[in-house]
Symmetry: C2
């Protein structure tokens, strides 16, 4: 398939218009379009503009709220709860991380727990924000059923990413660990299914519990957590922290954003920020030492360089900012159709 590159600002403006048209305040529409385009810029296309129509559909079908009233309640200097009022995840999560950052800057640490939210896209979006403010950050979310607990053969927990970030000595190359608890991102499996592509064995089972390398059968079947029972344990933790703790849905009840329009998804998240240089003023320099030493280690077979988590995405970001975002023809067509159905005139 031939991918065409588009200047990211053109796509971003178009998506802003789309979100405004379906009822979001301009400020919120801009948050959403920034978030989606940012994902593609970083090469995380599975969480990017390809999902525009999915988020819109939830608004149009009235199972997500275009104009949520966010309610935040502080329990101490360093912990708060945010009720997202069923707004889009991008809007709610941005507010939550902002509040967590504020508490961390003032009091060293801040935790914001969120209920009544929706899928918030790529966790790295919020890590990037925290890092800009010199925070270390952990982000937790739950999600619709996809992974089995260890010993089971039914989808139950989300593929919710484990997400940690902190600044380095390079502003544009933060340490960003954002990894699905599944062996592969669900979004990538979806696109393999849509395009009839093969996937490696070991990522998923088919409906009957047999190993498969067929993208469609895998998407219809049971995804496996990464690292066996360890990844399974992490995905269970995500349901506890994101769901049980926050007051959101949990226990397999978070609705799938793509396929279940019977009501609000009620996703839950937790954002923890800590002032990274609170104890060590030279935190960023210590990070630099760590990275430089790692890069000088003996290379494993097949590797030309050692990159830290977040570095491949920073390289991709630089490239895509310059050359434009590569978008596949089906996604371009999808965006065009969406815009036209809303009466937005575009040329792509």
């Amino acid at each position: 398939m031939k991918f065409k590159r588009f200047k990211h600002s053109i796509i971003q403006n178009l998506i802003t218009k789309i979100f405004v048209k379906i009822g979001l305040p301009t400020k919120d529409a801009k948050i959403c379009s920034y978030s989606l385009v940012r994902s593609d810029l970083r090469g995380v296309w599975s969480h990017g503009i390809a999902r525009t129509s999915i988020y819109c559909k939830r608004i149009i079908k009235k199972v997500a709220n275009p104009k949520p009233k966010l309610k935040i309640k502080f329990f101490s200097q360093s912990i708060a709860h945010l009720n997202g009022n069923n707004g889009l995840g991008f809007v709610i999560a941005n507010r939550a991380i902002d509040e967590a950052i504020k508490m961390a800057k003032k009091n060293g640490i801040g935790l914001v727990a969120v209920s009544n939210s929706n899928h918030f896209g790529m966790a790295a979006l919020y890590l990037e924000k925290a890092v800009k403010h010199n925070c270390m950050s952990w982000i937790f979310t739950n999600a619709s059923p996809a992974l089995p607990p260890h010993g089971a053969m039914a989808p139950h927990f989300g593929t919710s990413p484990f997400a940690f970030g902190c600044p380095t000595n390079k502003k544009d190359v933060p340490f960003i660990l954002d990894m699905a608890t599944s062996s592969v991102a669900r979004g990538k499996l979806k696109f393999a299914a849509q395009r009839g592509e093969k996937i490696p064995y070991g990522l998923a089972l088919d409906k009957q519990g047999n190993p498969t390398n067929d993208g469609f059968k895998a998407f219809e079947g049971i995804m496996l957590p990464f690292g066996g029972m360890k990844g399974a344990g992490l995905s269970w933790m995500m349901d506890i922290v994101g769901g049980i703790f926050t007051g959101a849905n949990f226990n397999g009840k978070v609705k799938n954003a793509i396929s279940n329009f019977s009501g609000p998804a009620n996703v839950g998240h937790v954002f923890i920020c800590v002032k990274s240089n609170i104890f060590q003023k030279n935190f960023n320099q210590r990070m630099m030492q760590g990275i430089q030493t790692a890069k000088r280690l003996k290379l494993a077979k097949g590797f030309k360089t050692i990159l830290h988590p977040g570095e491949p995405e920073a390289i991709k970001l630089k490239e895509n900012l310059k050359k434009g975002i590569p978008i596949s023809p089906d996604i371009v067509a999808d965006l065009k159709n969406l815009a036209q159905s809303l009466g937005i005139k575009i040329k792509l």
Copy 2:
């Protein structure tokens, strides 16, 4: 090898005497003996009484401090730094988690960062404590070089566990996720090496970077992180949080507790506690719902039941409290020799 069972209190008393004899205050000696015996009770023998002589040796060789003066400094209601003054990890970590729990109970959240510590044993020890006080808890530590970053072939990061715990509806069966970032616990590899046992392929490379199933070659070689680049990312995070953030050693400089007596290990830890029912009064009941549903899911091939993280250890604990701890003859001999060398009269 024939394992004999011993009543845990007998072993615990003996180990207390040993630690007192080498100079620890009785209170601290009791913390250490409890910690070691507790690990065996939970079936985590790799972190248990088999390590008694290792910890003692560091005191005897004067690279660890039997009577540390712990210095704690509070930066706000919810964040503090503890300088461990090179005491044993058990003593320091117990103080740290106590302070984190206190802050969490009072202010919803508490973080204690620790520098100048030593190996703290099984992370689950501190999770168990937090859980008893109705806290959710995350624990981070760094450790001596064992795992390569993704793309490298040299040991650099620790096998430091990822550790999360929270209460459930059953007081004796908390949710405890305590998992090494390696494919296997380093302690288990050590014993396989000592006993000439085989290990499964995929856990480690030999010194030359080739896959091996030889316990000794693996222990001498390069352990691999679990889940490929994901586990590698987690182990890098551990060095950042445990070392860079706290002011402890990092970047491959934490000294190996077993083999390096050239000076203090300077391990770093971070303890985060959050009041689990701060937002949802029925947190424990929600946990119960989650566990019950998971247990009713369709079983995967080869499984008879679904256990949550921490449940196998809770079952083992109950059994060992009743029947005694199984200890191998070499460990019994090791304990006897240690006691006798210190002039302690024992019958085992």
